[in-house]
């Protein structure tokens, strides 16, 4: 066990280093210049561009820039080129904004996917199962931005209420309850949209897991000894079908930092995804690289946790 943890940590650190190098190279070698040194902007004279390059260390060779960047990142001194704000502070703020979206989206996904999937598996081949399959594939294949526009158009045109942003603007002095509910309302559409694909995929997965377990001998035995079918499905089958999902909890972790670029941009939600997207457009390297680094770390931690969880819940597995 301990040796597994040790090995795993070393492996992950090596992977992380490669991620750092590759992402740094990709971002610096991609075409385009940071907007502060963009030669196409007629307001900037060549001397200014030169001075900016110097201030950002862009005139140094790549490996030196690499060292400078990660030195600043680890000492917490990295600042965004766009507004000179510390990167970690910006990420922290945005993280808190993305968090409710992520939590509500995740809860929706997991609470809805299970009942839908289980019911499909139990009533396999019936009308319910077929229509659930159809709707899942439909939701899975509609492009997110398109679905978002349709939803916004329908809601705004029928109900005439605002749906964009984190709260209603100019709402004035109203009770705390109003403010809270207003925020919940603004969470609704983006988190439903964020959850749709998740529900579609996860419910399929639940269904197939259930079906697999239901065909096991011990389920047949349980049925044969005359247990009520509810008890067979929900106690004997479901528990065993849940096993693989425990490990998926670990893999949710990276989603925390990634946010959702498309949904956050459409709903002008000031979250992580939108910040990263706008940083990419402006070639704000410190932000892009920091977000990238943090999400790489989270991915690695996530896989580590799911490995551990697997061991804990399934005593048959030894690593």
């Amino acid at each position: 066990m301990l040796s597994f943890i040790g090995r795993s940590i070393i492996q992950k650190i090596i992977t992380l280093f490669f991620v750092m190098v590759v992402s740094f190279l990709i971002i610096h070698l991609a075409p385009g210049e940071p907007s502060q040194v963009d030669p196409l902007n007629p307001k900037f004279t060549p001397e200014m561009v030169e001075r900016f390059r110097e201030a950002f260390h862009l005139d140094k060779p790549l490996h030196v820039q690499f060292v400078y960047f990660y030195r600043d990142l680890f000492t917490g001194k990295t600042v965004s080129w766009k507004d000179n704000e510390p990167v970690l502070k910006k990420i922290g703020e945005r993280f808190l904004n993305s968090l409710p979206l992520f939590i509500v989206g995740t809860i929706l996904t997991w609470t809805l996917a299970f009942p839908i999937g289980i019911r499909s598996a139990i009533a396999r081949g019936g009308v319910y199962d077929r229509s659930a399959t159809f709707v899942s594939y439909l939701l899975y294949s509609i492009p997110g931005f398109f679905f978002a526009y349709i939803l916004i158009l329908v809601v705004v045109n029928t109900f005439h209420v605002p749906v964009i942003g984190m709260k209603t603007f100019g709402f004035g002095d109203v009770s705390v309850l109003h403010t809270v509910m207003d925020r919940v309302w603004h969470l609704l559409l983006p988190s439903v949209l964020g959850a749709t694909v998740g529900i579609a995929v996860l419910s399929r997965y639940v269904r197939s897991q259930m079906l697999e377990v239901e065909s096991q001998d011990y389920v047949r035995t349980a049925k044969a000894k005359g247990l009520p079918s509810e008890q067979v499905h929900y106690k004997h089958a479901l528990r065993n079908a849940l096993l693989p999902f425990v490990t998926m909890f670990g893999l949710i972790l990276p989603g925390l930092i990634g946010g959702s670029v498309i949904i956050e941009s459409i709903f002008s939600w000031p979250g992580m995804g939108r910040m990263a997207f706008e940083a990419i457009l402006a070639r704000d390297y410190p932000i892009i690289l920091s977000v990238n680094f943090i999400s790489a770390v989270l991915v690695l931690i996530g896989t580590f946790i799911s490995d551990l969880l697997y061991m804990v819940v399934d005593p048959r597995i030894h690593l």
């Binding site: 075409p31 385009g32 030669p39 196409l40 902007n41 307001k43 900037f44 004279t45 200014m48 001075r51 900016f52 201030a55 766009k82 507004d83 000179n84 704000e85 703020e93 809860i107 929706l108 609470t111 809805l112 009942p115 289980i118 526009y149 916004i152 158009l153 705004v156 045109n157 109900f159 005439h160 209420v161 605002p162 749906v163 964009i164 942003g165 209603t168 603007f169 100019g170 709402f171 004035g172 002095d173 309850l177 109003h178 509910m181 207003d182 919940v184 309302w185 969470l187 609704l188 439903v192 509810e230 479901l238 941009s265 459409i266 709903f267 002008s268 000031p270 939108r274 910040m275 706008e278």
Partner: protein, 704 residues
């Protein structure tokens, strides 16, 4: 069974909880009815967030939107696009002109003369003792003062770090003339008295002694730089408004103006405005409320640069920055204005006070109760950042933004809705097809004109722009005086185009293509991808030209490639492009023949001697009427030469709730409501400080 109940119950409870929140959210009508506060807030939507809220450092449009509310300049443009005073109450423009006494050259009828003799001669001419013609007389009458600056010696240092060397100068006497008005023809007129070559034959080299052997070329260059034979120094004296406060209560004065200028010129600050102020020689504080700006040369567009927002010196000078650096634990040596927290909490003396900036969400401003022109009607101004144009529109319908960047097709949709009022007006800029005149067949004016005649621009305006555009015939902003309205746009006439092409030697061959000396009339029209309007123009032009037998190919290129590889390197036949312009009529960069090299803006290589002269005269002329006359003439030349096919100027469009009106108090103290109307300034927000939203839309007796 509990597991089952939980599995079904939990999502149902969650969904009900989420959905019931709908009942707590206000609808469009409730926004204003149940919430009177909302009427005093103006919320506008922008697709991009501001970068840095400091007028001397920012280079993006979102930042300048906010800066125009928080900061105030010395002057700006009024409804008729004339200058009007803001922080300056009045200003005076005059000139100091200098020339070195050229003792080597004989003056007609006088011979070689020293400084005092020349002064005497000029004074005699001024009193009318010498027979001179009217224009020279006018120039002399304009001279208020003549003085001698005695000869002097000084040393200057030149060269880079290690190769520094000294130049010893023993400058001859110099004559200083103070003029009532700026006179760009002064020296030309004076040479009618002092002799034709008096100024041009002045050779500064003989007054220089250079430590170091630099070669004759370099020596002549230094001589021209250190001892210019003649020099125009236009001077602007601004008298500033007394008792104007910054938002923190500090009084505004001339030192703030000087500080703003110095901050722009400080290389540490990397200000993108530096080039605008390069012609300034010095800024002096004459009195607490008088500032004197002296220019190195004649450059009339420079006056417009004083619309720049003025920074508060007391918050940003060296001591303030040092204190901030120490407080925040930064190195005071490396700490510049760019790092200052001021850029996120700006303080100016404009009509609105900065309150809060949440990145990518909103910027909130409150009105400034002590604003010198009177407190704005709106209590609060909110600048929301909504990146997506469709969601902007949705927020507008939901009543949580009052204004957004409405597109022509969206205006079409809202035009007949009684809830809204809509506006449009001409913007500052135009779209054109530019021809590379270095190449065949575009070096022939007839061909260029024929190409223009073959395109039905009115149709483009009607179908591509939904009517939100107007034709344009030349390079000036259409609603300014500089634009020559006597010039009529080229009419759509394909038959006439064919006749002109026939005159130029192009005839249709058997297949119907135009041909000259066995060569087909063939070229490629290019533009950048990502701009649907230009793409449409590209297709329409190609089709129109093909119909008269021109083999036109088209290509769409990514912006960076388009500019860097094709336009900058002059490697194209014809391009569809647009210019957005300032009001100032300075066309030097786009149209002067010296600017036709690679990477310069005259990429079509327009060369015309007469136009060159006019372009120089326009930027040196300080008299508005005269400048307008020059511009009209230049417009005529460019319209005749057709280096571009000028297509259209777009209209900006806007939609507002009808309940937003102008509220004014007349002389007797009665409140008067007026309809908002667009002004020539390219927006409808000119009177924004007087706007307010009413609970019910008023009825205006005389509409229009």
């Amino acid at each position: 069974m509990t597991v089952r109940r939980i599995l079904i119950g939990a999502p149902i409870v969650l969904i009900i909880f989420l959905l019931q929140s709908y009942f707590w959210v206000p609808t469009y009508e409730q926004q204003s009815k149940g919430n009177p506060q909302r009427l005093t807030e103006y919320i506008t939507a922008s697709s991009g967030d501001a970068a840095i809220l400091n007028p001397i450092l920012s280079a993006d449009s979102a930042s300048s939107d906010i800066e125009s509310m928080v900061f105030e300049g010395l002057i700006d443009y009024d409804e008729e696009l004339r200058f009007r005073g803001r922080l300056a109450t009045s200003w005076e423009i005059y000139e100091e002109a200098f020339f070195y006494v050229n003792e080597e050259t004989a003056i007609p009828q006088v011979g070689k003369a020293d400084a005092s003799k020349i002064v005497e001669l000029l004074k005699r001419a001024k009193t009318g003792d010498i027979a001179i013609d009217v224009t020279v007389k006018a120039s002399l009458d304009n001279i208020r003062e003549i003085a001698i600056i005695p000869s002097r010696t000084f040393t200057v240092t030149r060269g880079e770090n290690k190769a520094k060397f000294k130049i010893h100068v023993s400058a001859p006497a110099r004559i200083k003339l103070v003029l009532n008005e700026v006179d760009q023809d002064l020296f030309q007129n004076l040479s009618r008295i002092l002799g034709k070559g008096y100024f041009s034959s002045f050779d500064g080299r003989s007054y220089l002694r250079v430590d170091h052997d630099v070669g004759e070329m370099k020596r002549a260059e230094y001589a021209r730089e250190i001892l210019p034979a003649i020099e125009h120094n236009p001077i602007v004296v601004f008298r500033l408004r007394p008792n104007v406060q910054f938002h923190d209560g500090h009084l505004f004065d001339a030192h703030d103006v000087k500080f703003t200028y110095e901050a722009i010129m400080d290389p540490k600050n990397l200000s993108p405005r530096m080039a605008d102020y390069e012609p300034v020689k010095s800024v002096e504080v004459v009195a607490p409320l008088t500032v004197r700006i002296c220019y190195k040369r004649l450059y009339s567009p420079a006056l417009g640069t004083w619309g720049m927002g003025i920074l508060p010196e007391h918050l940003l000078n060296d001591e303030a920055l040092k204190a901030e650096a120490i407080e925040r634990g930064k190195d005071p040596e490396k700490f510049t204005m760019r790092q200052s927290s001021f850029n996120r909490h700006p303080v100016g003396c404009g009509p609105f006070v900065f309150q809060e900036w949440k990145s990518d969400q909103y910027i909130m401003l409150d009105r400034f109760a002590d604003y010198w022109e009177g407190t704005p009607n709106y209590r609060r101004y909110v600048y929301r950042i909504i990146p997506d144009p469709l969601t902007q529109e949705m927020e507008f319908y939901a009543g949580t933004v009052d204004m957004y960047n409405v597109q022509p097709h969206q205006v079409e949709r809202l035009k007949h809705d009684p809830t809204y009022q809509n506006f449009s007006g001409l913007s500052f800029g135009y779209t054109y097809i530019g021809y590379n005149m270095r190449r065949e067949p575009f070096n022939d004016r007839k061909v260029r004109k024929a190409l223009g005649m073959a395109i039905d621009v009115d149709k483009i305006i009607r179908y591509v722009l939904y009517g939100q555009g107007e034709r344009i015939t030349g390079p000036f902003v259409k609603q300014t005086d500089y634009y020559n309205h006597r010039i009529k746009p080229i009419t759509y006439d394909p038959a006439g185009a064919l006749r002109l092409l026939a005159e130029a030697g192009w005839r249709r061959n058997k297949e119907g293509w135009l041909e000259k000396d066995g060569k087909r009339l063939q070229f490629t029209l290019i533009t950048n991808s990502g701009n649907d309007l230009r793409k449409a123009v590209l297709a329409i032009a190609q089709d129109a030209w093909r119909q008269i037998g021109i083999d036109c190919r088209t290509d769409l290129l990514e912006w960076a490639v388009f500019i860097q590889e094709r336009v900058d390197k002059a490697d194209f036949d014809a391009v569809v492009l647009g210019w957005s312009m300032g009001i100032e009529p300075d066309l030097y960069q786009m149209w002067h023949s010296s600017q036709a090299n690679p990477y310069q803006l005259n990429f079509v290589a327009f060369e015309n001697k007469e136009a060159d002269d006019l372009i120089i005269k326009i930027r040196q002329e300080y008299d508005h009427e005269q400048q307008v006359a020059y511009c009209h003439h230049l417009h005529e030349i460019i319209a005749r030469e057709q280096p571009y096919t000028f297509l259209y100027v777009r209209k900006w469009t806007a939609v507002l709730d009808k309940r937003i009106v102008i509220k004014e108090t007349d002389a007797e103290g009665n409140v008067v409501y007026k309809k908002i109307t667009p002004t020539k300034t390219g927006t409808y927000t000119f009177h924004f400080n007087k706007w307010i939203k009413l609970p019910v839309a008023p009825v205006f007796s005389a509409e229009g």
